[in-house]
Structures are given as structure tokens and as C-alpha cells.
Amino acid sequence: MVKHSVLIGACLMLLACSNATQPNLYQRLGAEDGINAMVDGLLYEIEHDQRIVHHFADSDIGRFHAKLAEQLCQLTGGPCHYSGSTMQESHTGFNISLADYDALVEGLIKVMQRQQISITDQNALLALLAPMYKDISYR
């Protein structure tokens, strides 16, 4: 009996350890610096994308950068709390189309490729962002 508990205890400790050493997506993306670089890259892509840049004509880019970084941090398991508006609120009035969404995702993929984020981590991030389409589009 004692032997068993020790064994189970050892197993649990191993599990705990392996969990602790396994970096989450936030860490794999390079934590705060990595996410900031990604948002910088995305802003560059948006600025140079004639298809969507007009949506940002009247935006406070400083705020957008800060809120997006905060949101990506929280979403990927980082130590942040998103303090911006909901996705529905912040995108209402822009009538963001499927083509706009595709363009932004394509821009993000370009940035992730450029920053040599692994395909696995790219897919993990896209899995988190893709479903936001229903809250963001055509509002």
C-alpha cells in the first residue's frame, strides 16, 4: 500500500514537473518581446496592405497596439488581463468583410513566417484567432 502511494506520488511529481517545464504558447511565441514584435510586424503589414489599411484611418494606433498585444498575451496563456473593448464593440461600424479578415490573417501568417515561429505554434495561434470571425465580421 505504502509502496503504491509512493509510486503514485512519484508519478504525480513527474507529471507536475513535466508540466512546469513545458512552455505554454505565450512562452513559445517569445513572451512579451515576441508578442510585441508580432504586433509591430502586423502593424507594418496592415500599413502596407491597400486592401485593409483604410479601416485604420481614424484609429489610435498606440491604443490598438497595446490592446492587441494584451489580448494576444492573455489568449495564449500569458500573465495579462485584456482591458480593451469586446471584439463586437471594437469592430462595429467597420463592416469588416471576409476578404478583410483573410487579408489580416494572411498578414499575420507573413509576420509569423518572417519571425520563424514554428508551424505548430502558428497553427495553435490561428486556432485561437479564427473563431473570432463571427464577432468581428460584418458589423
Partner: protein, 276 residues
Amino acid sequence: MKTWFFAIALLSVSGAASAGSKIIATGGVTTIEGNAGGGIVPWAVINGYASSNEWSATAFTGRVAINNFTLQSTGVGISLDNTWEFSYARQHFALKTIGGSLSQDIFSIKYHLTGELLYSALPQISLGVQHKRNRDFTLPAAVGAQRATGTDVYLAASKLLFNQVAGRNVLLNGTLRATKANQTGLLGFGSASDKHYQFLFEGSAAIFVNYNLAFGIEFKQKPDNLAFAAEQHWRDVFVAWFINKNVSLTGAYVDLGNIAAQGSQTGYYLAMEATW
């Protein structure tokens, strides 16, 4: 064929030709029947890269070479608004050992009903119609086909699932088809004993190694209307390489079962597609 190679080579290196906003590979490749899909199964995706309020054009040619036959299929398509797909394909089926050939034209329309391949929990769902016309009905009539023209209707559901197998994205597709076609229409439509539509299942599954390269499998259930020879289900394993948004190449190993009483037809499939 040669001009095609030049056109493709030019497009691959230039990469300058404008394409739509859709993400690479989300238009699929073009089936032997001219629809966006895999090699033999039409998917719910709309061909090319036209996203909302955009249009795109596609052209493809593909060749199936199996033990006793070859099938050459060539066609063009236009897509609008990621909603409508209009396409035309001509198939030429050569009976290498028996001699002679079969040929048909396929005019298709696909309408994207609901769902977004990448962005909705619901799969993308599309309804398609294929109108097929034999160009020479002599041989199909001789083996018992009832009509030289036929119309297939299909409902397809496709979904890309992110980060599924070894962190890779997986595409799943299921298609339900109503058809009277014998060997997809190459041997005409229906027979004296089987005049009615049958509902058949087709499926594909693919894994994307990266944005440009996918490996997959396909299955296509077939009817068996003609008395002169048993018709069997089709299957294949394929690799699709999306070189850029203008060019893709597809290769497959195909197993088309028995065709026209010629046993075990296996071989390869090669296709290329250009998109603008």
C-alpha cells in the same frame, strides 16, 4: 501540354499575377470533373482565391494513367465572391487495350450555402450541380446505357481543423451525391434496369504539412447500373503542392477498381492548375 508547362513555369517564378485574398490552399485543387476539391471528390470550397467581393479564374489539366486506360481532363472555371463557382471540363477517356475512346463535357455550378472553411465552427457547406453530356454515345449505348446526358447534384461539407495532428491542420470533407452516371458519365447515364437517382457518399481527408503541402486520401462510392461489367468504388492517396496562389500541382496513386470488365485499374494521377 508543352504550352501548359511554359505557362505554369512562368507563373511559378513570376508570382506577380494578381490573385484574390483567400489564404493559400483554401481553394483546393480542381477535380477531374472541373470542380474545386481534391482529385475525384468535389469539396465545399470555391475554386481559386476570390474572397468576398472578388473574382478569380482557374484553368487546369489532369491525366489519369491506369493499366488499360488513360483519362485526360482539361477545363476552366470562374469564381465570384467566394460564393459561386462556374466551371467547364472536357474529359477524354482512351481505351488503350480495347481500342476506341469515350468523351464527355461537364458544365458545373457550385453555390456556397453557409459556413466558412477556416472561421466558423460549422463546416463550409455548398450545393453543386454537374450537367454532363457524352460527346459520342455509340459505345455507352452499346453496353446498355440509357441516356447520353445526365445531371448530378451534390451537397458537400468541408472543414479545416487547426492544430490537430502533430500540430498540423487537417481538412475533412464529406460529399453526398445524387447521380445516375455510369463510370461518372463516361459510359452514359442509367440503364434499362436502373433508371433512378442513387445517393452516394464521397469523402476526403488531408493533412497540411505546412501552408503549401498537403497529403490526403479520397474515397468515392459508385453506382453499378450496367449489366455488362461491374463498377467499383474509387480511392486514391494524393499529395498537393500549392507552389503559390497562382499554381498548384497534384499527384496521386489511384485505385479505380474494375472498369469495363478490365480488372484492377490502378495507376497515377497528375494535375496542374493555374489561378488568377
